[in-house]
Symmetry: C2
Amino acid sequence: MAERLVVIGGDAGGMAAASQARRRNPDLDIVALEKGNWTSYAACGIPYFVGGDVSDLDDLVARTPQEFRDHQRIDVRMQHEVRSIDLQAGKVEVHDRARDRTINLSFDQLHIATGARPMRPDIGGIDLPKVMGVQTLDDAEAIVARAHMTDCRHVTVVGGGYIGLEMAEAFCRWGAEVTLIEATSQVMRTLDSDIAAKVASAIRGFGVDVRTDLPVTGFEDGVVHTTEGEHHADLVVLGMGVTPNADLAADAGLDLGPRGSILVDRRQRTSVDGVWAAGDCASSFHLLTQEPVHIALGTVANKQGRVAGVNIGGGYATFPGVVGTAITKICALEISRTGLTEHEAVEAGFEYDVATLDTSTIAHYMPEAEPMTIKMLAERGSGRVLGAQIIGGRGAGKRIDTVAMALHAGLDTQQVIDLDLSYAPPFSGVWDPVQMVARRLLRGD
Amino acid sequence: MAERLVVIGGDAGGMAAASQARRRNPDLDIVALEKGNWTSYAACGIPYFVGGDVSDLDDLVARTPQEFRDHQRIDVRMQHEVRSIDLQAGKVEVHDRARDRTINLSFDQLHIATGARPMRPDIGGIDLPKVMGVQTLDDAEAIVARAHMTDCRHVTVVGGGYIGLEMAEAFCRWGAEVTLIEATSQVMRTLDSDIAAKVASAIRGFGVDVRTDLPVTGFEDGVVHTTEGEHHADLVVLGMGVTPNADLAADAGLDLGPRGSILVDRRQRTSVDGVWAAGDCASSFHLLTQEPVHIALGTVANKQGRVAGVNIGGGYATFPGVVGTAITKICALEISRTGLTEHEAVEAGFEYDVATLDTSTIAHYMPEAEPMTIKMLAERGSGRVLGAQIIGGRGAGKRIDTVAMALHAGLDTQQVIDLDLSYAPPFSGVWDPVQMVARRLLRGD
C-alpha cells in the first residue's frame, strides 16, 4: 500500500505542502482535510471583499478543491474537521460535517496546518453571534451576510492591529459608521508610537472614530461596554490579533512554542517524527533576535508549506526565518515595517541609534509627490541596520523591502548608502529615502 | 596661505565634493567654477520641465550658488569656463564669460566634474542650431525657448535611449507631433529586445511615431534625412547617448578609461596626485563584470562626489561601484533594469539561465492591478542572480531595487525566494514578482 500523507487544513500552509509533496513523490497517497468550504485562499483579501473592491470571494481563491483533485491527485475533503490526533496509532478522528459522521483515517506522515483564529479574550458576551472575528473566507461570508441582514449602521471594531484597521476602513467604504476601540495607548502596536500616531490620525481623517486607552468590559446585543461608558454597535468586529489553532497538536502531545504555536524546526518538523506543521499554527524564527517567534502571515505560511512539502516528499529544504516584514494600506496611507521597533530592540537587548526623516515619496518637484516618513534603527557601534518603519503616500510602503533585504544581508548604514538603487524623478529623489535616513543615522546629514 | 581646492563643474559631482571637503576641512579655500548658470540641479527632471509637470527650472535646483557661498563658504563662480589645466604649474586657465576676460587660478588640489555632453556623431548639419542636445538646465531653457519661438509643430527625436524616449513623451505632452528615429533595431539598447519591444509599443500607443532600423544621414533646416527618405522637423532633439567631457583632462595628460572617461580609482583619484574626478566625466566600476565602466547617472555622480570630497578633505572613503541599475517612466509604463542583460552577460563571459514572467503589479483580484513583466538572469550552476528587467504599470519599476540589492549581496535564486518581503493585496501577490520569477528560474514553477 502507498504511504499516506494526511494534511490538516486546506489553506496555504497545508496545500503548498501537499503540492510540493506530490511533486516530489508521485506515489504518495495525499488526503487533505479542510473543515470549511475553501482551499488556498488569500485571507488578506477579505477587507477588500467587505469594502467592495473585490466582488466575488472566488477571486480570492488560488486553487479550488477540484483543481487539486484533477491536477495533483490530492484527495481534498471539504467540511472535514479533525477532532483528535492519535500519534501512537497514526490516526486522526475526523468529523464529516456534511454527512454528520465520524471517520478514522490512518497516516504515515501528518502535516498540521490548522491556521490561527481571532483572539477572544474572556470578556462577557464575546461569544455573541454579532461579535465576529475575521480569519477565513467562511468568516468573510458570514460577516457580510450579517451586515446585510441587520440594519447595520454602526460597526465597532475592537482592537487596532492590521486587521482591525483594515476592517474599520472596509466598513467605512461599505457605508457604516465605524468606531475603533483599542485598549492600549496606540493603534498598531507593531509600530513605534510616533509612527502609530500618524496612522491613527489618517484613519480618523477617513471618518473612523478611533478611541485608544479604552478597554472593553463586555458585550451585549447592540452594545459594547467599556471602562468609559457604552457604545452602540449593530455589529462588532474583533481585531485583537490571532492565536494559533494548536489545540489538536497540544492535545496530541506535540511541543509548543511562542504564543502557544506548534514548535517546529527549520525543516518544519514538530517534536514527533513524521509529523510536520506550517503556517499560522506553527512557530517561526526571527533572524535578528535569533529567537522562535509566532508570525501569522500569508508569506510565511506559503514558504513554510513549501518547505514542509519538499521535506515530506523526500527532498531537503529549510525555512530561512523572518525579519518581521509587514505592510498595509489604510485609506491613502501606506504603512510598512521590518526588523525591530524601538521597543523590540530594547527587549532583544540591542543598543541602537535611531533617525526619522520626513521626505517625499518621489522627487519633491514632481506634481504627484506625497509626504512620507521613514524611521530607521541601527545597532550602536556596528551600525548594522536593525529595522525601519515607513508611512506615507503612494510608493512609500514597498520601499521597506530594501530595508528587509539589508537585514537579511546584515548590511550596515554605510552599505545601505552604497547601494546602487534606481532613481528617476517619478520614483524618488536622487538619494532614495532609505539611503537618506541611513545617511542621517550615520553622519547626522 | 590656506590650501586651495579648485572644483571644475557646479553640478552634483562637483558640489557634493566641495560640500564634503568643506565639512571635513574648515580651513580649505574652495573655488568652484561653473561655465553655465546653474549649480546642483536635477538634470533628470528636464523632460518634466519640457512636458509641463515642472513649471519652474528653479524647482530642479537643490542648492543655489548663493547658498553655497553663504552656508559653506564655497566661492562659486558662475559663467566661468576652464580652458586648460596646467598640472605642472598647478593652475587652471579660466574664461570669465560674463566679463569676457581670462584669469589664471592656482590650486593645491583639483577636482574635475565636467559632466558629459550629448553625443553628436559626424553627420552633416548636426551642429545646426535646431539640432539640440539635452544635458544641462541651460540646454533645457534653450530647447523650450526655441520650441516656443518657432512654430514648433513637429519634433524629431534622434536616438531611442532613456533621454530620447523621455523627451519624445515630453514633446507629445507639450503638444507637438513627435517622430522618434533610432538607427538600430530597437529602442533602449540597455534592455533586451523582447522587453524593448514592449517599450516601443507603449510609446507608439502614446502617439509617438517610432522608426527603428533607420539611420539618419544628415540634417538641414527643417529636415532630417535618413536612409529611407526625409522627415520634416521644426526641432530636432538628440538622444543618442552622452560622452564624457574629458577633453580638458585628456589635454592635461590624465589617463582615460572606458568611453573616454577620466580614469579614477575607488577613492576618485585620477592618475595624477592631488587631482580628482567624479560624476559623468569619470569612470566607474561594475561589481558584476569587475570592469571599469562609464555610467552617466545622477546617483553615481552624487555618490562619487561625496567620496571625492571626503578624501580631499582628509578623510577616507571609497566608491562602492555600480550594478547597472536604472529606471524610467515612459507614458504610463515603468521600466527598470539592473545587473546584466542577456547581451551584456554573454559579453562578460557568463553562462546563464533566464526566465520571464508575466504577472500583475499587485494582487490580481484588486481593481488597480496592472500587467507587469519581469525577466531575470541567473548564472548557470551557481544560481547567482545576474540581472533583471522590469516593465509594467504603477508599482512595477521600483521593485528592481530588490534585485539590485540581491546583486550587491551576491544572492542566488533560492536566497531571493527566501527573503521576507512585504505582502498585502494592494502591493503584491503573496509571492512578490521578484520571487516568482526566481522560483521559475530555479524550479521552472
